[in-house]
């Protein structure tokens, strides 16, 4: 064979299907999968997405190195292909291969024992987005049918930008990524899109070529700073000071868009100077409402702040001043505006003062502030801030900067995080008692009725607010529980969280006291589960990897949670660290071996399809197959054991003998393809996908653009029109239509008059130093997501391992290397009062002295003694986030709740072994 023939024959296939990888980057890039015989030969981005708007680059080719190497993983050495049962002690690395029959029976019996002896709430599932909707939906369905506990995914992965939630009543502030192209000023702030947004990064460089200025604000000269116009090095954890100083400049130099701020924000609302609380209707009218607020109209004095709209409708609210107001009891108090209070606070952040705090030159702060005020500015903010203890303060300060400069809801503006697109069929699915459009109509009409009933009680509420109410209602009957309580009671975090020296020093009481106070006040009514007395006995991890992920470390879970568990069941396609510590590993099929979709988000506003290019390898099965079989086995064993029904934690009677049938709705949903088809058809019927969409059209086109946001809160929270021929800008409805925000004040809210917030002096945004988490040590770990993996997904992929050093790294500055007598390539030990780990040192001038970067994603089993980087992270949660029942500060699944911090952990470093 000639050489040319040799390579010609390597580029062959006999089948092409669509595939995407359903990992937790949520990008769901449409790939073409080329299969030869029964082997996936390679994959390549589809590149078939049509341009949306004239003059805006298209989305192609959407992909990254992880996606382009996925096929290799199908045959990777870390793949699990048979059901395995642990032999010897947990984590000992010895297994026996068992049959599916044995495995399912063993799991079913452990579950029935638990239900029988301790109650179903001792069965706990970890939620995730890993693996796609058809990995997650099956076990969520089983948990729902059982009344078990599912730990809220966002509380586990801490991707919750609480500051955005505090400000906007939601965190779904993401426009489509092509909106980046329309920006004039891009602030890469707490984000490193060159690592973490590879498919979309081109819009940044293309915006630059169109005239945008690109700024990187970060402690280190990171990969995204490289292609920026300005690098603004900031001391880690002081971003709020920088943002507030820019706000100070904008206001003091008269650059603010005060009309925008008056309309969109709470800055004109009146606050009593005696109590520091908003002036409420109840204060001045007997029987008045608790959630009606006021502003000072320049013509007519005190006036109700409009609740049904953000539009001022002729009002001219005063933004600054102090006025006397007569209360209902006849007494007089002084009121002022939020802006007046804010300006007092901002006096602490004049640039020269802020420079001392954040290390950014005062002249630079002024320059940046003027740029923000004069341009369509977008903050590209990933999910890094939520992982700081005081990340909420950073986000609130960033949002304030945008609010003062008219920078949201307009093309090229806003703070770019993530927003869920409205796959309404998926939301409907758990409610469906049979398949088909009639059932869909019945449910949708029922929901509409429920919404209308709620609207009758509050005619000024928006659809989004009512959607949230509906979600809150269902949360109190659903399985989802914020993990903070589980971690506190059962996973050993209580002691850690009570360590005052690792917490915000303004915390006056113990964490215990705040938590019990919050629970006692009913702020977490119905969702503070499982309670202290309900010990977990069976833990399911389906594609999640708590021992890699858990802030607080693998050791904490193994020594506190694991001993309580009769059965740790891991469903995964690979040997994660958690799988290594499981009792049973059930092998799941990978993408390219089954149909699947990932949860769609608004970045691309598309639903992308992953087809079965080959059958699952080995004995692996899809999660739908696994959990429907488990449901069936549970029914069979329940009948054999005469355990036909039980009462769950919410006093609902559950019937085990029907479980198997209920799971598949009497056979209506026998396979995941049928389930997916139903989701897609229902979404099309509900108007969020094109009419006629089905698995068939997905299979043909690979990816479909959404046509609407749907009727459910997650979609509606983007508050924007979906047009087939235009870029989508989040919050367009708030700005163009005056649609109120779903906050307590119905405005973007910078003033939080909750007593705890006042106690913490966080009623307004401010800067607070990161607490000395981990101890009083000289170095601070900032971390971040790596370029090479999505969390630990793809970290075991051989070609990808070859694109870096293939082992964990501690990236450090040259100065600190000298200080610690470390040379490039040495093995070093990172230690603090919580734990330690070892890794290879990479010494570089790009890192700020005092800063260490440990990119996450490496499995603990890639570190000596399996002590991963999370061993030094105490996993502190901010006590203020236990607040509830304050307008928008209340639990919703995936929403407001305490999340553990892992950035800005203090450590020291020593050399273990020289090169």
């Amino acid at each position: 064979m000639s050489t040319e023939d040799r390579y010609q024959r390597r580029w062959c296939w006999d089948r092409v299907t669509w595939g995407t990888h359903c990992v937790n980057c949520l990008a769901t890039c449409p790939y073409r999968v080329f299969t030869l015989g029964d082997t996936v030969a390679f994959e390549e981005q589809g590149g078939t997405i049509e341009a949306v708007a004239e003059g805006v680059p298209d989305l192609n080719p959407l992909g990254c190195q992880k996606g382009s190497a996925w096929s290799v993983q199908l045959t990777s050495e870390d793949r699990v292909l048979h059901p395995l049962r642990r032999v010897g002690e947990r984590g000992g690395g010895q297994w026996e291969q068992i049959t599916w029959e044995e495995a399912l029976t063993e799991v079913a019996d452990a579950m029935l024992d638990t239900i029988d002896e301790d109650g179903v709430e001792s069965i706990v599932f970890e939620e995730s987005v890993e693996g796609g909707l058809l990995s997650q939906a099956p076990f969520l369905r089983l948990a729902g049918l059982l009344g078990a506990i599912t730990l809220d995914a966002n509380g586990l992965v801490n991707d919750l930008p609480t500051g955005q939630h505090i400000t906007f009543g939601k965190f779904s502030c993401a426009s489509t990524v092509d909106d980046t192209f329309r920006s004039e000023l891009l602030l890469q702030w707490h984000s490193n899109p060159a690592y973490t947004s590879i498919p979309y990064h081109h819009f940044i460089s293309e915006a630059r070529y169109r005239g945008a200025t690109v700024v990187a604000i970060a402690p280190d000269y990171n990969a995204s700073a490289v292609s920026s116009d300005m690098f603004v090095p900031v001391r880690p954890g002081t971003d709020a000071a920088l943002a507030l100083s820019m706000c100070e400049v904008v206001l003091s130099e008269g650059l603010a868009d005060l009309e925008f701020a008056s309309t969109q924000t709470d800055l004109p609302l009146l606050v009593r100077t005696d109590t520091g609380r908003f002036l409420r209707e109840r204060d001045i009218r007997s029987g008045g409402a608790e959630d009606h607020f006021f502003l000072w109209d320049e013509g007519n004095g005190i006036h109700d702040a409009p609740r049904a709209t953000l539009r001022l409708e002729g009002l001219k609210p005063a933004l600054r001043g102090r006025w006397p107001v007569q209360l209902a009891d006849g007494s007089t108090v002084e009121v002022t505006t939020v802006l007046s209070l804010l300006e007092e606070r901002l006096a602490d952040y004049v640039p020269e003062r802020a420079e001392e705090l954040c290390g950014v030159a005062a002249s630079t702060i002024r320059t940046l502030a003027r740029m923000v005020a004069g341009h369509r500015c977008k903050i590209l903010e990933g999910f890094n801030t939520p992982k700081y203890y005081h990340g909420d303060l950073m986000e609130r300060s960033m949002c304030l900067l945008l609010g003062l400069t008219g920078n949201w809801g307009r093309p090229g503006t806003g703070i770019q995080g993530l927003a869920l697109a409205g796959l309404d069929g998926y939301f409907l699915f758990p409610m469906k008692t049979k398949k088909g459009v009639e059932e869909t109509a019945r449910l949708l009409e029922g929901i509409e009725q429920a919404v209308e009933t709620m609207r009758a009680r509050d005619p000024e509420a928006t659809d989004e607010m009512l959607g949230n109410q509906l979600l809150a209602l269902s949360a109190s009957s659903g399985t989802s529980a914020p993990p903070v309580f589980f971690n506190y009671h059962h996973a050993g975090y209580r002691e850690t969280w009570n360590r005052a020296e690792w917490s915000d020093p303004t915390m006056k009481r113990t964490f215990d006291a705040y938590l019990s106070d919050a629970v006692r006040r009913g702020w977490w009514g119905g969702v503070a589960r499982p309670g202290a007395a309900t010990e977990p006995r069976v833990l399911f991890s389906v594609g999640t990897n708590p021992l890699r992920r858990a802030r607080g470390g693998r050791a904490k879970l193994l020594s506190n949670l694991w001993p309580k568990l009769d059965k740790v069941v891991v469903v995964d396609f690979r040997m994660s660290t958690t799988a290594l510590h499981a009792d049973l590993i059930l092998p799941s099929a990978m993408q390219y071996e089954r149909v699947n979709v990932q949860y769609p988000i608004t970045h691309t506003l598309r639903l992308s399809f992953s087809d079965a290019a080959t059958p699952p390898r080995g004995e692996s099965r899809t999660e739908w197959q696994i959990f429907s079989a488990l449901a069936k086995r549970l029914s069979e064993r329940a009948v054999e054991r005469d355990l036909l029904e039980y009462v769950d934690g919410r006093r609902q009677t559950r019937h085990l003998d029907r479980l198997g049938d209920d799971f598949v709705v009497g056979g209506d949903f026998a396979s995941e393809e049928v389930v997916l088809d139903e989701w897609v058809r229902d979404s099309a019927d509900a108007g969020t996908l094109p009419v006629g969409s089905s698995v068939e059209t997905l299979r043909r086109d690979g990816s479909i653009r959404f046509t609407g946001l749907g009727i459910f809160a997650p979609g509606l929270s983007v508050a924007a029109d979906v047009s087939p021929t235009d870029v989508m800008t989040a919050f367009g409805w708030h700005v163009d239509k005056g649609l109120p925000f779903p906050t307590l004040t119905r405005r973007a809210q910078f003033y939080i008059d909750h007593p705890w917030f006042v106690e913490a002096d966080e009623h307004l945004p401010r800067h607070k130093e990161p607490p000395r988490m981990g101890g009083d040590w000289p170095l601070l770990i900032t971390s971040g997501h790596s370029r090479w993996s999505v969390h630990s997904m793809s970290m075991g992929n051989r070609p990808l391992l070859g694109t870096h050093r293939g082992r964990p790294l501690v990236v450090m500055s040259e100065q600190d290397a000298v200080e610690c007598a470390v040379r490039e390539g040495d093995q070093v030990r990172v230690v603090n009062d919580h734990g330690a780990f070892e890794a290879m040192a990479r010494v570089t001038p790009r890192v700020r002295p005092g800063q260490l970067i440990v990119y996450n994603g490496f499995e603990p089993h890639m570190f000596p003694r399996w002590e991963g980087a999370n061993e030094v992270e105490p996993g502190m949660v901010k006590w203020l986030h236990l607040v509830g029942k304050y307008g928008h500060l209340r639990y919703l699944p995936f929403g407001w709740q305490p999340v553990p911090a892992d950035r800005a952990v203090f450590v020291r470093l020593e050399r273990v072994e020289a090169v």
Binding site: F34, S68, P199, S205, G211, A216, V226, S227, M575
Partner: protein, 368 residues
Amino acid sequence: MSQDIAGTAVAGQVAMVFDLNKCMGCQTCSIACKVLWTREEGEEHQWWMTVNTQPGQGTPKDWEDMGGGRKKDGSPVTGHQPTRAEFGGGWEFNYDEVFYGGKGRSVHLKPTDKGDGTTRWGMNWDEDQGAGEYPNAYYFYLPRLCNHCTHPVCASACPTGAMYKRPQDGAVLRDEDLCQGSRFCMEACPYKKIYFNEARNVAQHCIMCFPRLEEGVAPACARQCPGRLTFVGMLSDPEGPIHKLVNEWEVALPLHPEYGTTPNVFYVPPLAPYRLNEDMSIDYETPRIPPEYLESLFGPKVHSALATMQGELDRVRAGGTSEILDTLIVYNWLDLFGPFTTDPATLDRTPDKVAVSLTAKRTEPAGG
């Protein structure tokens, strides 16, 4: 044997332009190539396409100090043949031992050290290290593949005549049946983009995805590049972006032109953020990346290329328009690929079909 096979009649020369201002170092190009072409035994360490952080030692380690190339008079410059350890990479890992060995935490997953030095270097070992001093560190990404040079010194150094420039597109290929694994090409190539396949005793390098080009499909590295920075086309096409960027606007330059091989891969050199003064205020005057460093990579023309780029940026920021920047924006993805815009998924490439077409090609008269 001719000393320089540049005289080969080439109907057209396929060329590439990488815009370094759009490159984020993600290695999707490297992976695209790896997954498609170099996954068999002996190819573990081969990365025909690589991205390195500059300044840096790169791949193979310190390749810029290894010699090779061609003097102005056309005579060869001798070079070092990069060793397996200098390439590094191609690691195996102790999966079995960790997962199933019953050793618990006493072992952890890591590259298996075979004592040959290959675990201490890799294709991207010095990723994001850079140079300079904080906060004025500097670095950027440099994707590299075979330059498919007009003067392929690799071919000239081959004792068996195994290497040639394809007449139809100027791609430099090797007949692996003729290659005896003597590796003079690896010494002679100044870019060190040729690898030795130990298992088959042949050298290998980028084939410019010729099977794809023949079907009108862009090379995998270019078509899979998420940064949309990789242009492919015929160098002489006056309407194509490559000709304009290279010859008309002169903003795309070859790497190390002094190596004398006349590469057909070009780079738009990198701009960088402003430097900072001692007091952390912005220094608008001094470039962050030392111009002499860039000159050492791209030759003296780099200064005017950067000045052109900066001028265009200034103009669009002032509200003007720029044909150069609009070209580099690439509004329509397919505009990157010149004549190679075919979607591979639309092709019939079953092994039988390909075998038939190969047989047919062989029976065509020479030169067909």
